[in-house]
C-alpha cells in the first residue's frame, strides 16, 4: 500500500496524494492510505464506508463542524506524477482537490485538541454521476455521522470563502418538423431551421444578477449541445437544443423550470438533470465566525458544489479551499503553494483550542 506521511508539510503531503492516482471509481488505494494514517491517531474515531473515510473527534464541545474533501479526480490527461516549481504544485487533482484534502489531513493529524468538535470526511465519486457520490450515499446510509452545525467543503476557491452555490438544470428543448427529401424541401418542415428561434431567444436572454447576503450571483442560460439530422438528403423532423440553466440561490428548482419553460414557450421541453442551489447562509453564526476568522471576505460560488448536499442534510456549508476553481479539470491544473499554507494556517487559527468557539 502506498503510504502517506501526515507529519510532512502540506505541500509534500499534497504531492503524495496527487501521486496516488484516484480517478473516480479507483479510490480504494487512496482511501486505504488515508484510513490507515487516521487510525493511528488516538483522538479520532474512524469509520470506513465504501471508499469514504470519516474521522471524528469527541471532545464534548457544543459545536461540531465538518471538514470535507473528495478523494477522486477527473480522468488522467498525461498529468501525473506531480511536479513542483517555486510557486505551484502541478498534476492531476492538485487543484481539484487534493490540496484541500492535504490541508484537512494536516489538521486531523496535528490538532489533538481543538475548540470545536470536528468531523473529517474524505469521500469518493464526486466527479461522476450523482448516484455514485460518496457524500450522498453516506448521508443516506449514516446521516448521524454527518450531523454538525456547519460544514466546510474544501473545493478550490482561491483559499477564500465562496458561499452557497448556484443551482444547475439541464433541459432538452426540441423543435419538431416534417421529413422530406431535401431535393423537394417544400414538401417538409425543417426542424433545424425551426430551432433557430430557440437560439434566438437564448441569445436575447438577459441573465439575472441578484444580490443575496451581500453577494452578487450571476445566472446563465446556455445551449451546451445541439443535435439534429437524419441523413444528408433528408429534411430533419427533430432538432434538440440541450440547455444548461445556472440559477441563483434565491430560485427553487421549480421556479427554474418555470423560467426555462417561459423562455422556450412553444417548444417541447424535458428536464434531464437538476440540482438545487444553496443559499450562502452567512447569517448562520458559525458561518459568520468562520468568514471573520479567515479574512473577512466571502465571494459568491457560481458553480454547483456539494455544499448543496450539506444544505439538504440540514448543515449550513461554505466552500473554502486552496486552488483556482477555473483550473479544475484542466490538463495543467495546479495549486499555489501559498494557498496551501494559508488555508492550513487560517483553519488552524480558527480551530485553535486557546480561542473560544463562537456561541
Amino acid at each position: 500500500m502506498t503510504s502517506l506521511d501526515l507529519t510532512a508539510d502540506v505541500v509534500t503531503l499534497t504531492e503524495q496524494l496527487v501521486n496516488i492516482e484516484s480517478v473516480s471509481g479507483n479510490e480504494k488505494p487512496i482511501a486505504d492510505a488515508v484510513e490507515a494514517e487516521l487510525r493511528r491517531l488516538d483522538h479520532l474515531e474512524v469509520t470506513r464506508f465504501g471508499n469514504n473515510v470519516v474521522a471524528r473527534t469527541s471532545h464534548g464541545h457544543p459545536e461540531r463542524v465538518v471538514i470535507a474533501g473528495h478523494l477522486d479526480t477527473v480522468p488522467l490527461n498525461d498529468n501525473l506524477p506531480a511536479r513542483r516549481d517555486e510557486e505551484n504544485l502541478h498534476g492531476l487533482g492538485s487543484c481539484d482537490m487534493k490540496g484541500g484534502v492535504a490541508v484537512a489531513l494536516r489538521l486531523a493529524a496535528s490538532m489533538a485538541t481543538t475548540n470545536r468538535d470536528i468531523t473529517f470526511l474524505f469521500y469518493e465519486c464526486e466527479e461522476v454521476e450523482e448516484h455514485r457520490n460518496g457524500l450522498k450515499l453516506l448521508g443516506e446510509a449514516h446521516p448521524e455521522l454527518l450531523e454538525a452545525d456547519f460544514a466546510i467543503l474544501m473545493e478550490p476557491s482561491n483559499a477564500v470563502v465562496e458561499a452557497g452555490c448556484q443551482g444547475t438544470m439541464r433541459v432538452d428543448v426540441t423543435s419538431r418538423g416534417e421529413r422530406a427529401h431535401s431535393a423537394r424541401s417544400w414538401n417538409g418542415v425543417n426542424a433545424i431551421h425551426g430551432a433557430g428561434e430557440i437560439l434566438h431567444r437564448l441569445n436575447a436572454y438577459e441573465p439575472r444578477r441578484p444580490v443575496i447576503d451581500g453577494l452578487e450571483y450571476h445566472e446563465g442560460l446556455n445551449a451546451v449541445f445541439v443535435t439534429g439530422g437524419v441523413a444528408g438528403n433528408v429534411l430533419p423532423d427533430a432538432c434538440t437544443v440541450s440547455v444548461n440553466y445556472r440559477f441563483a440561490p434565491d430560485r427553487s428548482e421549480a421556479e427554474a423550470v418555470e423560467r426555462v419553460r417561459k423562455v422556450c414557450d412553444g417548444f417541447e421541453i424535458e428536464v434531464t438533470d437538476s440540482a438545487s442551489a444553496a443559499m450562502p447562509g452567512l447569517g448562520v453564526p458559525a458561518a459568520a465566525a468562520f468568514v471573520a476568522a479567515v479574512g473577512g471576505t466571502a465571494n459568491p460560488k457560481f458553480g454547483w458544489t456539494d455544499v448543496a448536499r450539506f444544505r439538504d442534510l440540514g448543515v449550513p456549508a461554505v466552500n473554502f479551499g486552496p486552488g483556482d476553481p477555473l483550473l479544475a479539470h484542466k490538463q495543467d491544473e495546479h495549486v499555489p503553494l501559498e494557498h496551501l499554507r494559508r488555508a492550513e494556517q487560517q483553519l488552524r487559527s480558527w480551530l485553535d483550542p486557546r480561542i473560544a468557539s463562537a456561541p
Copy 2:
C-alpha cells in the same frame, strides 16, 4: 443460380427481380442472372465488368441510345419477398428501380430488331458512395462501351420524362466561440448561440425557381445536420450546420459554392460533397423525339441522378421510368402495374423498327 424468365410479362419479371435480393455490394447473384439471360440472345453482344452488364445491338443504325438501370437497392427493411395486389407490386427495389430494369430487359429480350442501336446497361452500387458507382467505374475503364447519342436512365419518374437534374452540394458551415465553464458563461462565447445566425439566414433564404427549356426547377438550401457541444457544463467553442444546397441546372458547382459562401458570409465553410446539375437538354433532337414519342410531357427532375454522370460522358440523358420517386427508399415502396406496362409499351413504340428514327 436464381433464374429469370425474360419471356414473362413485365410485372412477373419485376417480381422475379425484386425477389433476388441485391442490396448494394451484393449484386453478384442478380448480375449473374441478368448476364446469363442476355447471353442467350444472338442480337446482343454482352460484356461483364464487375457486377455491371452491358449488352449492345449492332444493327448499323446511325443513332445509338443507352437504356440504363441500376441493379442495387437500399438496405432491407422487412420488405421482401415481393407482394402483388390489383394495382401495385410491392417490395424492396420495386420502385427504385427494378421495375425499370424489368422494362429494359423485356425490350432487350423481345426486340431483335429496332430503329436505333441500343446499349443496355445494368449496373451496381448506385445507392452508395460515388467511388463504388458502377456507371462511374465503367465510364472510366471502358468509355467506348457507353458511347451514344442519347441515354434513358430508368429512374422512377412516374413513367413520364423528367429532364436534367438539379445539382447537390453539402457544405459544413461552422460557428466558432470560446469555451468556458457554463457556471461562468460570461467568460466564454457560445458557438451554438452563434449558429443561430446561420439558421436565421437559412430561414430567410428565398430559393430560386428558374425556368429552363420550359421546365420550372426549384432550388433548396437546407440544414440537414447540426452538431455542437463539448460537455454538459461547458460553453461550446464550435457548432457546425451541415447544409445541403440543391441547385438548378443553370448554375455550375463553382457558382453554387459562391452562393452558399455569400449566404454564410462571416462563417467558416467547407464543401464536403458536390455533384453538378445536368441541363434538361430537350433541344437535342434525340431527346425531343423521345419526349414526343412517350406522350409529349416532360417535367423537371429535382433530385440528383446519374443523368449528370451521362452528361459528364458527353451523352445527353433523361430520366424515364415506372414508379413514383417519392416512394424510393421507403419501406412500403411499390410500383403501379400500369406504369410498368405503359413504360414498356411507350419505349417499344419508340424503338419500333417500322418507324424511322429521328434524323
